[in-house]
């Protein structure tokens, strides 16, 4: 086993061990915060449901009139009843969103970092980015269907396209704001251009890139919903929600809850990744 490999695995093991050890209390506190937030959200949802549905007539002759806004418990009971079907849609949407995020990251981070650091490249390419960035990407949805067909590829490409700009702009900004002393420090130690990227630019911008990824989760889910409801075929929470919104609204809201869970899972996953790869951000000064 090479020394370099051993160093990398050792670093990862130490990171995971430290993350487990140091963060135990923090994780406990965070879980409690999430539980309280979810309880507050459910309460607010229930109150909103009661207010919105106050004019819906009571069941007459065994016929239940459709509620405008089903309550959280109706949605949750539908979630349990349709668990198997929702799971398929959930996994399908999760896979698309995850793949889109990875594609966007892989494409946007290197370009963003180079734009942030290489002046000439930035001078010529940034105007193109800033002209294309504000275009409402949803306007291009038909174009995506024409190019990629009506399958998963369109949905993934659409979301990846939207997230690409989000992450690119963040990575570029983060690379521009790097403390020059860090660059000078490695330059004076004889670093090559590649080593500057590896030892300074990438680690220094990682927290900002992960923040942009967090923002991207919400944006990505919104565009995934649009893409999934625009396509006539295929699985996915978007289609599930759209198909049931008119006549099986409780089920549609069960789908919305599943989307919320998907967002939460991804959000927490990014948090955990950040705690491991940016451990230096979470340490505090200790007595020597």
């Amino acid at each position: 086993m090479s020394r370099r490999f051993r160093t990398a695995t050792d670093r990862l093991t130490r990171g995971l061990r430290a993350a487990r050890h140091v963060e135990k209390r923090t994780i406990g506190r965070q879980v409690l915060t999430y539980v309280i937030s979810i309880a507050v959200l459910l309460l607010a949802w229930q109150i909103a449901s009661l207010i919105v549905n106050r004019n819906v007539p009571p069941p007459t002759g065994g016929i239940q009139h459709a509620k405008i806004l089903p309550g959280p418990f109706e949605a949750l009971s539908q979630l349990i009843k349709n668990a198997a079907e929702l799971q398929r849609h959930f996994l399908s949407s999760a896979w698309r969103l995850l793949l889109a995020m990875l594609i966007a990251l892989a494409a946007a981070v290197p370009i963003g970092l180079m734009l942030g650091r290489e002046r000439t490249l930035d001078r010529y390419l940034s105007p193109i980015v800033y002209i294309t960035y504000p275009i409402p990407q949803v306007a291009l949805i038909l174009f995506f269907f024409v190019v990629f067909g009506t399958g998963s590829a369109t949905k993934v490409a659409m979301v990846a396209f939207v997230l690409f700009f989000q992450i690119l702009v963040s990575a570029r900004g983060a690379a521009k704001n790097i403390d020059e002393e860090h660059i000078t420090s490695v330059l004076s130690a004889g670093a090559s251009r590649w080593q500057i990227y590896r030892h300074v630019i990438v680690p220094a911008t990682l927290p900002d890139v992960l923040t942009s990824l967090r923002v991207s989760i919400g944006l990505g889910m919104a565009f995934l919903y649009i893409a999934e409801t625009s396509a006539a075929f295929g699985k996915g929470l978007g289609g599930f929600i759209k198909d049931r919104m008119l006549f099986q609204r409780e089920q549609a809201f069960a789908g919305i809850v599943a989307m919320g869970v998907l967002g939460l899972v991804l959000y927490v996953a990014v948090d955990i990744i950040e705690r491991i790869v940016c451990r230096w951000k979470y340490v505090k000064r200790r007595a020597s």
């Binding site: 000078t184 004076s188 030892h199 220094a204 505090k284 020597s288």
Partner: protein, 243 residues
Amino acid sequence: MIDVDGVTIDYGAGGRLVRAVENVTFTVVKGDSVALIGPSGCGKTTILFALAGLLDATSGRLSIDGAGIRGPQRSVALILQNAGLLPWKTVWQNANLSLLLNGEYPARTACGVLDELGLGAVARRYPAELSEGMKRRVGVARALSTSPAVMLMDEPLASLDTLTREKIQDLFLQLWREHGFSLVLVTHDIEEAAFLGRSVLVLTERPARVKEIVSNPGMGDLDYRETSAYREVLGRLREALER
């Protein structure tokens, strides 16, 4: 021997050319120490960066042991104002950065320099976990890791409290005597210049020119601060700066 011969350095700022250093000449004999002192922003750091191979001189010649400086060299170490530590690397990784960049993987237990500087116990910590004084010592450890022949220091103790500053000045003096490197120190603190510089170059406002060279042969002992020679040098430096 470090030789700075008639060096002028211009750089572009906001579309116009700014002269930072003008016709500066001085030499540092092998193993000797020189402090550069002058008003803030006068161009002291520019001279240091040129010696580190990070900047090119517009005219004149910079050389170490007769060889012109063309880029950073392993035998020249630079300590920056805030120690230049990378927050995402541990103390050990920061201290060994120069070696790691050159493809050398020092054994994990080889913390000789860290131990020498009392940092062995914190080798696995991140800079954010250290006091300011310890961070500066990690910067020194990094500089010493390649056993340099020339040590360049750019206001290495700025923003430290007086006691910590004096302790680290003592450490610099001990290391300079034990390791035998040539030292070029940039500072705006006349006490630091008088304690660590065998000769002190007083520079003018930008563009930096040598206004006066104050000789300081008595330096080199830890109790030099208590001597009348030290106080006399301080007086001469203050006078030269105010002139």
